[in-house]
Amino acid sequence: MNTTPTLELRNLEVAYTVRGIDRQVLRDVSFAIAPGEAYGLVGESGCGKSTAAFAAMRYLPRNGKITKGSILFEGQDIVDINEDAVAKLRRSAISMVYQNPATALNPTIRIGKQIAEVFELNGVSSSDAMMMAEQALTRVQIADPARVLRRYAHQLSGGMAQRVVIAMALASNPRLLVMDEPTTGLDATVEAEVLDLVRELRRDTGTAVLFISHNLGVIRNMCDRVGVLYAGALVEQGATSDLFSNPSHPYTVGLLRCIPRGGLHKSTDRLDTIPGTPPALGLKFDGCVFAARCALADDKCRTQLPQMVTINGAHVARCFHSDKASSLPRSVEQIEYAPQVTGHSTKVGDALLNISHLSKVFTQDGHKVRVINDVSLTLGVGETLGLVGESGSGKTTIAKLLLGLTPPEEGGVVTLDGKGLAKTLNRRDVADVGAMQIVFQNPDQALNRRHSVTRIVGRAVERLRKFSLADAIARAHELLSGMRVEASLHSVRPVQLSGGLKQRVAISRAFAGAPQLVVCDEPTSALDVSVQAAILNLLVDLQKQDKTSFIFISHDLGVVRYISDRIAVLYLGRVVEFGTSQRVFSGPFHPYTEALLSSVPNIDGSTRKRIPLTGSVPSPSNPPSGCVLNPRCPRKAGSGYETLCETEEPNLNEVEPGHFMRCHIPMAKLKQLQS
């Protein structure tokens, strides 16, 4: 092995100047990527992943600077080369793919011109460049490339926009491709397609890849080697399979344990968390960066900087106790929460929520668009119903219909605890409003930033339970403390809290009215995995104590599987499969469910054949005839039911007790096809 690495970071240190003080964000980071190799960087938000990526592009924010070390591209140090030389590198040798493809494209320039620009920069004539742009789009397997050339960014779906960005990045035939969270925010099915594409392109081009992701499953499936970053320091590095099978830094061990991985369920397994919070930006350390949160840390860890130790070959970890890392004590938070005093005395499993024939039609530019089509579901006391489906499948609209934020069409009925609910929120009485509450994805936007935490929760208690102000405040404090929001934080405003704490406040608010049902709309999607685990544990505890029921909306099937008792799979506003969590996840699956499940990158490294859904989600304003899934159905061809699938919409049939499926293909046949 004497080849020069494509990219090598050597003892790289980067600092951001904030309020006149240099704050270190990368600490002595060294790694190398060989030609054709895919190197993954993982870690939670704020640990320096993106900074490392942008440093490799020599593109740091205005207040960022490289304070030490070198960045070698094919052996040449690029830290001190001038802007022209940097531009030349970017034109011809290094490209980048970004997290937000939609905003990465210029909104006022046609796609074709934006791609052609790369070729023109490399001296191609503009007419040839446009032709090559079309070829570039063909290469990323976009449907109808000639048409896409003439489109604008906002006319593309997220997956298409990312393909365009990838086409643009590959246009210069780069030797290094930096991908910063390229699939974050995309649907699982789209993510799987984009990842397949990247894998294929890598095979064809042999480009070296620096792959940044917070998603360990994606990293595991995409990368040859992995580096784990914490607080700007590389704490562990090794071949992907070694690192995942034998994590040797306590942080890596903790990260892996936080994830609700295949098969875990709330009824039997409690998720681990990583205690404490990541250090503030630029904090100085005498010892190990992770010591403050590490259960194995001793005095040595706190005072001496550990060096990388070899675990096995190229697998290294920056830890004094790497041999004991796998025996890291489990960290499971418990809540101290006073049960709600309510009049509800139903027992777990009794029927609580009954949704029948719920539909919703929106009018869009004079066209009627049926976004929810005859949805009927039931949920028991103390149970969780998981709603899954690609974006646009109607998950959030169902939540809005339940809460009365938008009225359902005539004929749709929502019954809670035997009582029919008014169609709109303002016609529901206080008890009904308190009985059903919601937790949103983004607590930043859901909490009033001008109010203190106490006021946010206290006001809800006062309104929903008709408490006096003093009682309401007392109850608010009780709720907040129970959800592990410390008393010292009760008087602060949301802006001073971390994402996880904000979500705890939002959950406290939702529980103010002693609810029977809480709708959780992607409550952990914006959070890091360790915080996600803590929030999921909290929800499970609340459910056990109060017999609260949840409707849990998430695009993360692992999370849904962990927390749900029943699952409803939605496609184009219709329930295509509904049953107990165990049934839905064990198969035989509805073809759509099967495709969804197979698109999730697996963290345990087991390879599984992906069942692709061809094409994109059709518009609900013009649904396909017959079964709405039929143009994309992975099981239609060869099933013997093709004509039926294309002409007649199947009913939601009870295929076995408590398990419903909307498919023409009989269970036995599906079982045979899927085995």
Binding site: A87, Y98, A104, L121, H154
Partner: protein, 318 residues
């Protein structure tokens, strides 16, 4: 797109109707007896009555209004009390004079202000930026007529580089002379508008400079300068164009103070005379036409904005 334009025009007509009502009612309730004002204090009561009858002031307001609007719509703008001439013949030349001033001013103001905004944005936080921002703001807080007087004193009286009047004395002035006379008033207007327009430009450019697509452009390997030209300006100038378009009616609709100071026979001067002389037909129509100018340019601004921004254009077409 067509639907959008038709809808917008419909809205504009509605707004203009409301404007016409307000203008009509306001002039109707202006204090003082018009007949007395026009005919003089000593005229006999019969003369007042005959005059009022002749002018239609004895009719109910509804009739007076519909007669006025009917006239405006058919091109009969009424007869001025003061000059005893058709209003159209008075306002026509004045409007053309005002338009000339507006065009010269705009040609001077738009590029300079936009350039100022771009330079400030590119040097964000540096001395150039601060100088432009503070300077522009300081200049804007001083009213245009003060600037006008200062400019006349400096360039007209002391240095004698420019004429003190905005209107050439000659019989048939050529275009060079006309423009030359309009430069000082335009500079006065530049001082007033520079701060505003350059700030809007600066904000637009900064937003575009910080955008993800600008990052993409730079990481594609474009030089910063090329990236700014190709990717920033078009997006950044969108709001600026709309802002400039909304300033056009201010320029074209009669700059009373500037026209007075520079002794320029434009719309503003006529308007002021009409108020002082209680020349109702002239005043009503002049104010109403100002409203028409404002609304038409607002409409043009909206349509321009839609045409330049594909996102809005598409929304509009759907």
């Amino acid at each position: 797109m067509l639907r959008f334009i038709v809808k917008r025009i419909g809205l504009s007509i509605l707004t203009l109707t409301i404007v016409s009502l307000i203008v009509f009612l306001m002039t109707s309730i202006m204090p003082g007896d018009i007949a007395k004002q026009i005919l003089g204090r000593d005229a006999s009561p019969e003369a007042f009555e005959i005059w009022n009858k002749e002018k239609g002031f004895d009719k109910p307001l509804v009739v007076q209004y519909s007669r006025w609007m009917g006239g405006v719509l058919t091109g009969d703008l009424g007869t001025s009390f003061q000059y005893e001439m058709p209003v159209g013949e008075i306002l026509g030349p004045a409007a053309s004079k005002s338009a000339q001033l507006a065009i010269v001013a705009l040609i001077l103001i738009a590029p300079i202000s936009i350039l100022g905004g771009i330079v400030a944005a590119m040097n964000r936080g540096k001395k150039v930026d601060r100088a432009l921002t503070v300077g522009g703001l300081s200049a804007a807080v001083i009213p245009e007529f003060v600037w006008a007087v200062v400019l006349i004193l400096v360039f007209g009286v002391a240095i004698r580089a420019f004429p003190v009047s905005a209107f050439p004395d000659e019989e048939n002035p050529n275009i060079v002379s006309s423009v030359y006379h309009l430069i000082l008033p335009s500079i006065a207007l530049l001082f007033v508008l520079f701060g505003y327009i350059s700030r809007i430009t600066r904000a637009g450019v900064i937003e575009a400079l910080d955008s993800d697509y600008m990052r993409t452009a730079v990481l594609k390997g474009l030089s910063r300068k090329t990236a700014v030209f190709r990717h920033v300006l078009r997006n950044a100038l969108l709001p600026t164009i709309a802002v400039i378009a909304t300033q056009v009616p201010y320029l074209a609709g009669g700059l009373i103070a500037i026209e007075r100071v520079f002794n320029y026979p434009g719309f503003g001067n006529i308007l002021l005379d009409a108020v002082i002389a209680r020349d109702f037909p002239l005043l009503q129509t002049a104010v109403f036409l100002t409203g028409v100018v404002i609304i038409v340019f607002q409409l043009i601004a909206d349509i321009l904005f839609a045409v330049l921004n594909p996102r809005i254009r598409q929304k509009v077409t759907e």
